[in-house]
């Protein structure tokens, strides 16, 4: 796009004998500069909007108000998720059997992810629903983080609730028995990677 001074040819002759001084063009091609300008603008716009942090809302249940309201969840609709060390995650449906046979392990993403487990549970609850207006009424997910799990794990699971549109979930303290089960499972998972 380099610009040439083509105006020289179109000049009126100044009359015979008058020598034309050679005029150098003062024009600069600004196209690359414009390119650069817009490139920088795009860069700034993207970097500013991307770094805006978002906030995730969390409502805690009130412990003091009507305790008899608790534990009302139907056993068939309950899914308990336990988080252990090193991004290990476990779950069981309904109540934990005394022999621990329904204590299963999952992962945060990839194969056998917790998302699939939640979706399966959701479909299961929906298939057995009695109230057609609110088919997911019975679905309750209980989240029990163990001592060793990280903040990220907790957020990931809470996020998973948002992703799968689970209406009822609760962040509950882990019981001693479950905590032991989680730490044993963590150790055995470490032993056989």
């Amino acid at each position: 796009m380099a610009e040439l001074d083509t105006s020289g040819g179109g000049h009126k002759k100044k009359g015979p004998g008058v020598k034309k001084g050679k005029k150098l063009s003062t024009r600069v091609d600004l196209t690359p500069m414009v390119d650069l300008g817009f490139l920088l603008i795009t860069f700034f716009i993207f970097t500013t909007t991307m770094s805006q942090p978002t906030a995730m809302k969390l409502f805690l249940p009130d412990d003091k108000v009507n305790p008899e309201d608790q534990n009302k969840a139907k056993e068939s609709g309950v899914l308990t998720i336990l988080m252990g060390a090193d991004n290990h995650i476990y779950y069981y449906e309904g109540q934990l059997k005394s022999d621990g046979s329904n204590f299963l392990s999952a992962s945060y993403n990839g194969e056998n992810s917790i998302r699939d487990v939640i979706m399966k549970k959701k479909a299961d609850v929906r298939s057995r629903a009695t109230d057609p207006n609110n088919p997911e009424k019975d679905l309750v997910i209980v989240i029990k983080p163990a001592k060793e799990c990280t903040y990220k794990n907790v957020i990931d699971i809470l996020d998973e609730m948002a992703i799968n549109v689970v209406k009822k979930y609760a962040l509950v303290d882990i019981s001693d028995g479950e905590s032991q089960l989680v730490s044993i499972s963590d150790k055995s998972a470490q032993a056989q990677p």
Partner: protein
């Protein structure tokens, strides 16, 4: 036979005006961008699908670092003054109110508050400070803090934010939650990085159908 000559028109456009606009916009964006101030407390937040932008006014921010230490940040100096005075009268700590007002964040046990404020602002680094004790359920000082904050805000709008590091362990998060529960604060927001809903999930289907996200 000569052909009729068509006048050759130049295809170049004058770029000066466009260049002016581009750089005007550029300078506008550069000048209006607020750069993130260097943070005394380094925290890498996890990401979530939440799309609501975190509030930047009238907030109380609780930060959990990767070692599980808890820090508190407030933006309202008036409220800070109230809290400092309340601490001085009830606990007799002898806090320098002016320094307390100017402090960007708090991260020391109440007993060590005076020496914390004696450290120059630029030398207060999150990894060297003890943080507010929350782990011990009998001595959870965040309870006191939240109680004072509640009192100073008394009905005014206040956004409680929680910002935790990816690798912070759960017990410190639980300590914070316990402190909030004790003060009947059951609603708070957690700062995260935005992320898109994964394909095929229920939330993704909802957003495809145009249902607005609630959170």
């Amino acid at each position: 036979m000569g052909r009729a000559k068509l006048p050759r028109k130049s295809t170049t456009i004058d770029m000066t005006a466009m260049c002016d606009v581009a750089f005007l916009l550029l300078s506008f964006f550069i000048l209006t961008t607020k750069f993130k101030p260097a943070e005394a407390i380094a925290v890498t937040t996890p990401s979530s699908v939440a799309s609501k932008v975190a509030p930047t006014k009238d907030f109380v921010l609780i930060t959990i670092t990767k070692d599980g230490k808890v820090f508190l940040t407030m933006d309202d100096e008036q409220k800070k003054e109230t809290i400092a005075n309340a601490l001085n009268t009830t606990r007799n700590l002898g806090i320098d109110v002016a320094a307390f007002k100017k402090a960007g964040f708090f991260g020391a046990p109440l007993a060590g508050m005076k020496s914390f404020l004696a450290i120059p602002e630029e030398n207060r680094k999150g990894d060297q400070l003890p943080g507010i004790p929350v782990m011990d359920s009998t001595n959870n000082e965040l309870v006191t803090w939240m109680q004072l904050i509640n009192e100073s805000y008394a009905g005014a709008k206040m956004d409680l934010l929680l910002k935790g590091d990816n690798v912070a362990k759960y017990p410190s998060f639980k300590g914070v939650i316990n402190a909030l529960k004790k003060n009947d604060i059951l609603k708070f927001q957690m700062i995260t990085n935005p992320e898109n809903a994964p394909m095929g999930s229920d939330l993704w289907k909802q957003s495809m159908n145009g249902v607005k996200q609630e959170n």
